[in-house]
Symmetry: C2
């Protein structure tokens, strides 16, 4: 909604009758009303082993990794975090309407493995897709999609899939986290990651390894000043944004840990939430869309610790 200031607050209470220019379906509940119906069973607490706390300032960016879609990168990234490799390195790229990216801008000079003796893999095979049959339940999105014959959700992540090919892959929606790589599809290892901070670049699906999704604090990344070099890399090293520290959730003190819950995507309540977003009840909506694209579903995350 884009209210002018005049009527910001009444929106919360609006249950007025709807004037529709033609017969348009409206779901009987608004998205927020659906969420109010949610019980504790409709929310899941992400597995702490999959959570990264990434700090460019005092506010954490919390990332949920998906071992199901990128098991090798998942293991390697955990090792990278635990080695504290990223501490003191940089966000070195911020491309408007696309991605931010971090890692070691002088990788070539310093050498990753020279600095970190390691069981950390220097390169890994790209994990662009997995067998659909290897996954837990896929909850399909009924709407069509421009990029994939089938789309839906697996455990809170947006996915494309093909029953025919028995393949599934994470989809490049806003906030998704992926592994930078070079020309060779098998040249990434997770030491440089990117986060989608613009309109979903779905053309990257199945071209690069996605490993997770930002659950909290993405504004600390999406507002980083844009780089003026090619592809949004910072030309001026002074513009690099230092990474204060990166930790696995298990390494974060109880005091600093957030209590995040993610709406489960395999429930009937989530299906209701989608319907409510497709066919908005609120009378501000003159003409509910009746459709929704994968990346517009916006899977809700709750932080009960403020």
């Amino acid at each position: 909604m884009i209210p002018s200031m005049k009527n910001l607050f009444p929106f919360l209470f609006v249950l007025a009758s709807c004037t529709t220019p033609e017969k348009l379906t409206r779901y009987p509940l608004s998205p927020s009303e659906v969420l109010k119906k949610a019980t504790s069973k409709d929310w899941r607490t992400p597995n702490e082993k999959n959570l990264i706390y990434f700090y460019v300032n005092k506010e954490p960016v919390v990332i949920e990794l998906s071992p199901a879609f990128a098991p090798k990168h998942f293991e390697n990234i955990k090792k990278i975090v635990k080695s504290k490799y990223w501490d003191g390195l940089y966000v070195m790229r911020s491309q408007d309407n696309y991605v931010i990216q971090w890692g070691d801008p002088d990788e070539k000079k310093k050498g990753f493995l020279k600095k970190h003796k390691s069981n950390i893999a220097q390169t890994l095979p790209g994990e662009f897709e997995v067998a659909l049959s290897s996954l837990e339940k896929v909850s399909p999105l009924k709407d069509k999609d421009v990029y994939s014959s089938q789309v839906g959700f697996v455990n809170g992540f947006p996915v494309g899939y093909s029953s025919k090919e028995n393949k599934a892959w994470l989809a490049h929606c806003y906030g998704m986290v992926g592994v930078s790589r070079d020309e060779d599809p098998n040249s990434g290892n997770g030491s440089s990651l990117y986060v989608v901070t613009g309109h979903s670049p779905r053309h990257l699906d199945r071209n690069i390894t996605l490993v997770g999704r930002v659950l909290h604090g993405i504004e600390n990344l999406s507002t980083i000043q844009r780089g003026k070099g090619a592809l949004g890399f910072f030309k001026d090293k002074k513009k690099y944004v230092p990474i204060r520290k990166v930790r696995m959730a298990s390494q974060v003190s109880k005091k600093q840990k957030l209590n995040l819950k993610v709406l489960r995507t395999d429930t009937s309540l989530f299906q209701e939430y989608i319907e409510a977003r497709k066919s908005r009840k609120e009378s501000w909506f003159h003409r509910p869309a009746g459709h929704i694209s994968l990346c517009n579903v916006n899977i809700p995350v709750q932080n009960s610790k403020h």
Copy 2:
């Protein structure tokens, strides 16, 4: 592309052979190679009468208005700019993955018309759609769309349309500019505008008046710190981002004026550009998407004055 730092520069020269896992189409030229073929006839210089220079800092944000899609708002917004109404007002909202919005946060108190004696309309009928037959050529995008039965481009703007209904409307892609309104579809007047700074909220199409598109400098808006109030409004007035000034291009000195050119969308070269973006030639792309969504087309803008 998401290169690691190691191989950033070779991308510009890569013409390597492609290893495709199955038969995938690749357009013979890359998008940048298509753009290199463009002649002066493929670019248009936007009509100066339609351009707004908006300053929150020294760098202008340049907006192209579309009189064809919102004639009444177009006229009113020009009057608002010329009255200098916005000078000293604020960006008062920045909602992550959605919009920024500016205007008078204290509109209710101060009263718009009390301050500005005016031929400026206080409210205007919503201009959510126009007759398709009233438009110049529509260049269709062949790919399907989740929100609209037909999509394409009119004079550099992304549009949805319906030949059956004889209707067309601007589409909420990244960088599009619209008119904030209240509950009543006819309650906006252009004195408060918003800019899409996140994943395209296409569900707003035909629900609110779009008036134009940011051609240049959107990073000055998209990096504004997010508001912590409801819908991303700033709770703390100290966070408001002051608007230095807003001018029509005709009011901007020759020295400060940019020389912007927008790729024409009604040419065969533009169709080639779309094909090149759909079916990427560059060998970095392991699996070219073969499809493209309306808001991923990214209509190129050139600034020949630096």
